[in-house]
Structure formats: structure tokens, C-alpha cells
């Protein structure tokens, strides 16, 4: 719109044009408020310690020469007080990869079973399984901790007779304990997501395949898995973000080889010292999730919608 045109417009129309702009302004104001905190931390992670403590990060652009990568170097340097962040990053990866793959594998079978197989109690089992989404994880911590550390015993009431149901498998305080826990906690949502998707696939294809003599396993492997790839990706993004960002489960089940989130909280605990490490570390932790988020946002949104919008 050129100024000449605007000038010749009637006032009412011009006002209306202006009013139409209001949503844009309000939204971008909120967007600014929403991004400011992250941006401020990002800028601060490149500033020197005295600068951080004496002036606001918004003044950093006054002297850009003062920005430094030293904080990031410190984060990845091994010191007596704090191991290098690399170590925690490896721990994180060691937790996240299996904790993402295992639930997907288990849930895909189950979702197919619930969606396309007839058996007694199907609906009830499905409802029971999916309703576990709302169960607070805290409800399972104490027993799982005892199970991983000591195995499961059952003392027959009245008799002084103890059965070993599960021996001490020696996975207490290992990444395996965290994988299994994440798998159990992630499965209900995974089954719901995949079930909603797989259930909507056209049944005619499966019918045709059955008539051609394909078994359920063949149908699952050859037809369902390739077709369900978007849903699998959606849940993978979900579970990845969830496990990577998890602090609670890791700190309940691990005393050593902790992931990055635990390391960050330990840094925060020591207020005052390592001030600059906190910012850089927080960013190091965020990098991977943010990359995944921005590149796979489509899948993430699809997962969210499949899990919550339905019905």
C-alpha cells in the first residue's frame, strides 16, 4: 500500500485496516515476551563472568568484542570439581536411544493388536492400558526402585515362607533401570497414538492381504509398519524430548552416570559459583531438543493432535 493510496482512503476504512493489524501486534508482543527469556540466556552464555554479574544482557550489544566462547569451553573441560559435560551427554544418549526405541517397538505390535484383532476383553484392556496415561509416575517409583535393587519377594501370609518372584537382576542404578521405567511410563501414550493412527488405516488392504493368505505378522510387518511411519515418527519425537528432558526418573533411579539434566541441577544448586557454567550448560542441553523440535515440528504437532484432539 503506497502512501498516496492510504491518503485517499476514507477514514473509516483506514481505521478498519488499522484494527485488522491489532491481532498481529498483540501476538507478536506475546511472542516477544515468550522468546525473550531464552534469548537472554543465550546472549548471557557468551558473556564474561564480571559482565554477567554487573550489567544486564541487553547491554551486551554495546561491546560485541566482549563476547566469548570461554563459557562453553569451560563446560566441556574436565575439572576436579566437575567432569566434562561430554560425559553427561554420553550418559544422556545412552539413556535416550533405548528409551525411545523399546517403547515404539512394543507399542507398535500392541497398537496393531488392539486395532485390528478380535479378542475377548479387547476394549477393556485397551481402556485400562490407555487410562494409565494419567497415572502419576510417582505411584510406581518405590516398588520399581525396590524391584531393581532387590528383586521381588513374596511372603506367603500366615506362613513364614518367602518366594523369590524375581531375583535381584543387578540393574539397580544402571541405565537399564531407566530404560525399563521410561518404557513402562511411555507405553500408554504410545499405544494410544499408534492405535489412533493404525486404526484409521483402510481395512480393505488388510482384508485383501488376508484373502491372499498373508498372516497377521506379515500384514503387520509389510503393510502396517510402512504405512504407520508418520505416527511412529511422531511418537519418537515425543518420547525423545520427554526422555532427554527428564530429570525426575534419572534422579530417582541413578546415583552415577547421570544424564545432563541432573548435572545441570547440581550446578544450579551451587549458587554463586560456576555462575557462567549454568547458562552455557543449559544451552548445551537444549541444543539437541531444539534441533529436533525445529526440524521435526510437523511430526511433533501431529503426535500432539493424535493424542489429544481425538474425541
Amino acid at each position: 500500500m503506497t502512501p498516496v493510496q492510504t491518503a485517499t482512503m476514507p477514514t473509516g476504512l483506514r481505521l478498519r485496516r488499522l484494527a485488522a493489524e491489532i491481532p498481529t501486534w498483540v501476538m507478536w508482543l506475546i511472542v516477544l515476551l515468550w522468546t525473550m527469556p531464552t534469548f537472554g540466556l543465550f546472549v548471557s552464555s557468551f558473556r564474561k563472568v564480571p559482565d554477567i554479574e554487573t550489567s544486564g544482557w541487553w547491554t551486551a550489544w554495546n561491546d560485541l568484542d566482549n563476547l566469548t566462547l570461554q563459557n562453553y569451553r569451560d563446560v566441556f573441560r574436565e575439572s576436579a570439581a566437575q567432569p566434562s559435560m561430554w560425559e553427561f551427554a554420553l550418559n544422556s544418549i545412552a539413556i535416550v536411544v533405548p528409551a525411545t526405541i523399546i517403547p515404539i517397538a512394543v507399542a507398535a505390535f500392541a497398537a496393531y493388536g488392539f486395532a485390528w484383532m478380535e479378542f475377548r476383553g479387547r476394549n477393556w484392556l485397551f481402556i485400562g492400558l490407555v487410562s494409565m496415561i494419567a497415572l502419576p509416575n510417582q505411584m510406581a517409583f518405590v516398588p520399581l526402585l525396590q524391584l531393581f535393587n532387590n528383586g521381588a519377594r513374596f511372603t506367603v501370609p500366615g506362613l513364614d515362607w518367602t518366594l523369590v518372584l524375581l531375583p535381584d537382576l543387578g540393574i539397580g542404578n544402571t541405565a537399564a533401570a531407566v530404560w525399563l521405567t521410561h518404557t513402562a511410563f511411555g507405553l500408554p501414550l504410545a499405544v494410544l497414538l499408534l492405535h489412533n493412527f493404525i486404526g484409521q488405516l483402510p481395512g480393505d488392504i488388510f482384508e485383501a492381504a488376508r484373502i491372499d493368505g498373508a498372516s497377521h505378522f506379515t500384514i503387520f510387518w509389510r503393510l502396517v509398519m510402512p504405512l504407520a511411519r508418520p505416527a511412529l515418527a511422531a511418537f519418537a519425537v515425543f518420547q525423545f524430548l520427554w526422555t532427554w528432558n527428564d530429570y525426575l526418573i534419572a534422579s530417582v533411579f541413578l546415583n552415577e552416570n547421570e544424564p545432563m539434566t541432573v548435572a545441570l541441577v547440581n550446578l544450579v544448586g551451587e549458587r554463586g559459583q560456576n555462575f557462567q557454567l549454568r547458562f552455557a550448560s543449559a544451552f548445551v542441553i537444549m541444543i539437541l531438543p531444539l534441533i529436533v523440535f525445529f526440524s521435526l515440528q510437523r511430526h511433533f504437532v501431529r503426535g500432539l493432535l493424535a493424542g489429544s484432539v481425538k474425541g
Binding site: P23, F109, V164, A175, S308
Partner: protein, 540 residues
């Protein structure tokens, strides 16, 4: 590095074993029809292995010379059990082979369990059974739950200890400024509900007068709710040297005079409505009026918020969290969904608001800790305090200082709002998109304004989604932990149930930790029941 390699090896191993088990189970089911003994044999083998394991681990084996020496090697027992079981079962299957059609029926009914079995096993063993055991442990004596006998002491501790739960001072709810403000807003909103829902149809003078009163009331109520919001913000910010305008506002809004006026207004509105209604039904009522119903909702949220801010104890605090974050995130998310639709740069804006979803709670705590940073002297380095200082207010420690109680909680809650608003926005915005265009177009053709289309067509259409968003948020917020742990660790009355549960677990007080978990569970139980009923309806 070593744990990394261990991870790769064990994952590969676990996946291989699972694949073999799954394919094997499928094969075994396939073989029911063709080779019955193979099927029974493999089942028997598994049973035998399990039996061997049980025998081994419970030490039921005759030790000493009975078996030619002590059997220490567990795997021999296992293997023996498996082989014996497989052999016996295969022989049995070979001797008694059922008819072919019965075998294929077996196959049909067994196959689903091969598919859903692993998931059921994980969820049953990882959530259901542990959940039941947690409930059981919470009733046991002693901190480890090993001692015999049951007790309700752990629950009694929670509900009698003032730090966890107290209704002492509950009467101060009614004198609390926020509550009075909320009450005033609720009264005004109710009056406005009556006012704006009435449409004048007839033309008599008295009805017109009633209509005039209603219109005045409607405007007055909007003004009052704005005042209420101002007082609310002032309360939450806990400004030590507040401005003169704020002083006047708070006095106006929180005084008993306001309460009186509100009551009078409500009575007036009611009478006007009754009169007009009695005079020949010239008023049409429309209860779904947007201004009124949204005012009522806001007032109710304020009321609950005000009441919860007065109550003390971890349990109340947790409930306060749920109400505030679920309410605020949903309202903000809806607002943004609507705004974004009419804005330029919708995609980028939405992505940026959505971004905090990818950031861990711990990371968010670090980010906001820095935003709220307060320096005792010199330049403020936290953005919020710098802004406050810039416009002439005193900087404050938003959640660090005890002087902020109870509003320090609110500033931590706001971090959660920051994270969850994107979720609400994305889901609600998709729901708004999914509203059939015929509906909105038809309303527009009938002369509905944009606001009317939104409140009377779009909102009813997306109501199920709003409920899903709210329930999802309730579940997420109830178990809030990381944020509190990483910001205040529960100091200055900011503690929540999950944090207390964690601390008890750390101290190895397994039973009282379990009791806290059960209380947490009780809080989300209504949502769980609701979800189950919804799923039932969907699958029916």
C-alpha cells in the same frame, strides 16, 4: 565411553532377543494348525524354564550328594527345566492331538496375545502392580514397610501436619483481598449475565427502562472486572510502595462498600429482569451470552485463586498450581490461537511460542531464574527487575524472598504457563481450523458478528478439545516437580507433593513417600475416571 558401548551392546542384544521371542511366538502359533507337538513343546519349554528359575532361586533343590554334588550353577537347573518341560509337553501334545478346526481356533484366540502381550506385561509390571504396591506400602508400619501390621499414620501425618495440610485460618479466605475482589467480580458478572442475556423485543417504556439498566450494568461490569484485574496484578506483584492509583483502586475494589454495591446491583438487575419478564414476556433470554459467561468464568477463577492463595500447606499449594496453570495456559492458548489466525507471520509466531515445549523443565528453571534475578545493589541483571527499576519500582526477589509469600508460588507457576501455553495453543488452533466452514459461513450469512460467530459457533464446536486440553494440563501440572526442585526446592512455602515425595524417597522413608504418591494419585483420579468414560463412549 564404556557405558555408551554397554548401551549399544545391550540394546542390540535386547532387541535381538525380543525379535526372536516375538517371531518365535508367531511361528509357534502358526504351527498350531500344522505341527501341534511343536507348539505344545515350546510352551512346555517356556514353562519348564520358568519352573527351573523358581526352583533355583528359592533354593528348593535337594543339595548335597543327592544329585551327585551341590548344584550351584543356576543355568543347569534352568536348562534342565526347559528341556524336561519341552519334552514332556511335546510328548503330551503328540499323544493327544486335537482336531484341526479346534487347533485353528486356538491359533486365532492366541495370536492377539502375542501382539498385545508385551505391552500389557510392561504396563502391568511397570505401572499397575507397582501402583497397587505403592498403595499397600503407604499403609504399612515402619519407614521401609518391612514391619508387620498396617497403619494410617502416614496419611494422618500428611493431613495433621501444618506444613502439608491445614485449614487453620480458613476464615481469612473471606477477608483476603483477592477473594473479595473475586466475589465482587462474580456478583457483577452474574448481574451482567442477566443484563446482557436479555434482549428487548417489545416496546413498552418499562421494558425499555429495564433494557437501559441492563446496558449500564454491562458496561459497569466490564469496568469493574478491569479494576479487579488491576488489583489482582498488584496483589501478585506485591508492590511495597505502590502507586497512588493502585492505592485508590485497591481500596475501591476491596472495600465492603464495593461488596454492598455489588449486591445492590445484583438485586437491581434481578428485579428489573423479573419486572420485565412479568410484563408480557417482552424480554428474550439467551443464557449463552459470551460477555456474561466469560466474565463469570474469570470471576470464578479469581475466586478459587484467591481462596487457594490463602490456604496453607503442600496439598493446597499443589491444588493451587493445578488451577492456576491449567486455567491460565488454556485461556492464553485460546487467545493466541485466535490471534494467530488473524496475524501476519502466524507460522513463525506460533513456532516461537511453542518452542518452550522442547526445553526441559530444568532448563526453563535456569532461564527464568535468570529473568527473575535480583541484585542487592548496583545494576539489575534480571530483565524483570531492570524493568521494574526503570519505571520506578523496587526490585524484588520474585521467588527467592520470604517477603513474597504466597506470591512466590505464582512466579514459579508462570514458568509452567510459559511452557504449556504453546501446547494449548497448538491443539486449540487445530481444533478451530477443523470447525466446518459451512457452520461459520451460515452464521455470517445470518448476520452474526465476528465475536458472535466465535462465541456461539466456534467455542461450542471446540468444547471437547478444550476439555481435553484442560484435563491433560491437570495431569501434567499435578505432578509438577522439576521446576520447584530447580528453583526453590520447596523453600518459603513453595513445596509441592511430588517434591516432598521425592525427598521422602531420598531419605528412604518408603512408606510415607508412598503415601504422598497416593495423595497425588487421588488428585488426578477424577481426570482418570473421566478419561475412562470418554474412551468407553468412543469405543462403544
Amino acid at each position: 565411553m564404556s557405558q555408551f558401548l554397554t548401551m549399544l551392546v545391550s540394546v542390540a542384544g535386547a532387541l535381538a532377543v525380543s525379535a526372536v521371542l516375538f517371531v518365535g511366538a508367531n511361528r509357534a502359533v502358526d504351527n498350531i494348525g500344522v505341527r501341534w507337538p511343536v507348539f505344545t513343546g515350546s510352551i512346555g519349554g517356556l514353562v519348564g524354564l520358568a519352573a527351573g528359575a523358581v526352583v533355583q532361586h528359592n533354593g528348593w533343590l535337594p543339595r548335597g550328594p543327592a544329585l551327585g554334588g551341590p548344584l550351584k550353577e543356576g543355568w543347569i537347573v534352568l536348562l534342565a527345566g526347559g528341556i524336561v518341560g519341552a519334552a514332556v509337553a511335546a510328548a503330551g501334545g503328540w499323544l493327544a492331538t486335537p482336531a484341526l478346526d479346534r487347533r485353528s481356533r486356538w491359533a486365532d484366540s492366541l495370536r492377539p496375545w502375542v501382539f498385545v502381550g508385551p505391552a500389557l506385561l510392561f504396563v502391568g509390571g511397570g505401572l499397575v502392580l507397582p501402583g497397587l504396591r505403592t498403595a499397600f506400602l503407604s499403609l504399612k508400619n515402619g519407614s521401609r514397610g518391612r514391619e508387620p501390621g498396617f497403619t494410617l499414620d502416614h496419611y494422618k501425618d500428611i493431613f495433621t501436619d501444618d506444613t502439608f495440610f491445614t485449614v487453620e485460618g480458613w476464615s481469612s479466605i473471606f477477608t483476603g483481598r483477592l477473594f473479595i475482589v473475586g466475589l465482587a467480580a462474580a456478583g457483577i458478572a452474574a448481574a451482567a449475565a442477566l443484563a446482557s442475556s436479555a434482549r428487548i423485543v417489545g416496546g413498552s417504556a418499562r421494558v425499555a427502562a429495564a433494557g437501559g439498566i441492563f446496558r449500564v450494568l454491562k458496561i459497569a461490569s466490564i469496568v469493574l472486572v478491569a479494576l479487579v484485574a488491576a488489583a489482582f496484578i498488584e496483589s501478585v506483584a506485591r508492590e511495597p510502595n505502590r502507586s497512588a492509583i493502585m492505592d485508590v483502586l485497591t481500596v475501591v475494589v476491596s472495600s465492603r462498600v464495593t461488596l454492598g454495591i455489588t449486591a445492590a446491583v445484583a438485586v437491581l438487575a434481578l428485579t428489573a429482569w423479573v419486572v420485565a419478564r412479568a410484563r408480557g414476556r417482552e424480554l428474550e433470554m439467551d443464557w449463552g451470552s459470551p460477555t456474561a459467561s466469560s466474565l463469570v468464568v474469570v470471576a470464578c477463577i479469581l475466586l478459587v485463586f484467591g481462596a487457594l492463595s490463602t490456604l496453607r500447606g503442600v496439598v493446597w499449594n499443589n491444588i493451587w498450581w493445578v488451577v492456576t496453570v491449567a486455567g491460565l495456559s488454556t485461556v492464553l492458548g485460546l487467545l493466541l490461537a485466535v490471534l494467530a489466525e488473524r496475524s501476519r507471520g502466524e507460522r513463525i509466531g506460533k513456532t516461537l511460542i511453542f518452542m518452550p515445549m522442547a526445553i526441559s523443565m530444568v532448563g526453563a528453571a535456569v532461564i527464568w531464574d535468570f529473568m527473575y534475578e535480583v541484585q542487592p545493589m548496583g545494576n539489575q541483571t534480571g530483565l524483570f527487575n531492570a524493568v521494574l527499576q526503570g519505571i520506578g519500582f523496587t526490585p524484588r526477589g520474585f521467588f527467592i524472598n520470604a517477603s513474597m509469600i504466597p506470591w512466590n508460588n505464582f512466579w514459579i507457576m508462570f514458568i509452567m504457563v510459559w511452557i504449556q501455553t504453546g501446547f494449548a495453543m497448538v491443539v486449540l488452533s487445530a481444533a478451530i481450523r477443523a470447525v466446518p466452514e459451512e457452520l461459520t459461513e451460515a452464521a455470517q450469512v445470518d448476520g452474526a458478528s465476528e465475536a458472535q460467530v466465535f462465541w456461539r459457533v466456534v467455542i461450542p464446536q471446540i468444547r471437547p478439545t478444550i476439555i481435553v486440553v484442560v484435563t491433560t494440563l491437570i495431569v501434567i501440572v499435578t505432578k509438577v516437580f522439576d521446576l520447584v526442585k530447580a528453583t526453590t526446592n520447596g523453600a518459603n512455602r513453595t513445596n509441592v507433593l511430588a517434591n516432598e515425595m521425592f525427598d521422602q524417597l531420598r531419605d528412604r522413608n518408603f512408606t510415607s513417600s508412598s503415601a504422598f504418591a497416593v495423595v497425588l494419585f487421588a488428585l488426578v483420579l477424577p481426570v482418570m475416571v473421566y478419561n475412562i468414560r470418554r474412551l468407553q463412549r468412543e469405543l462403544a
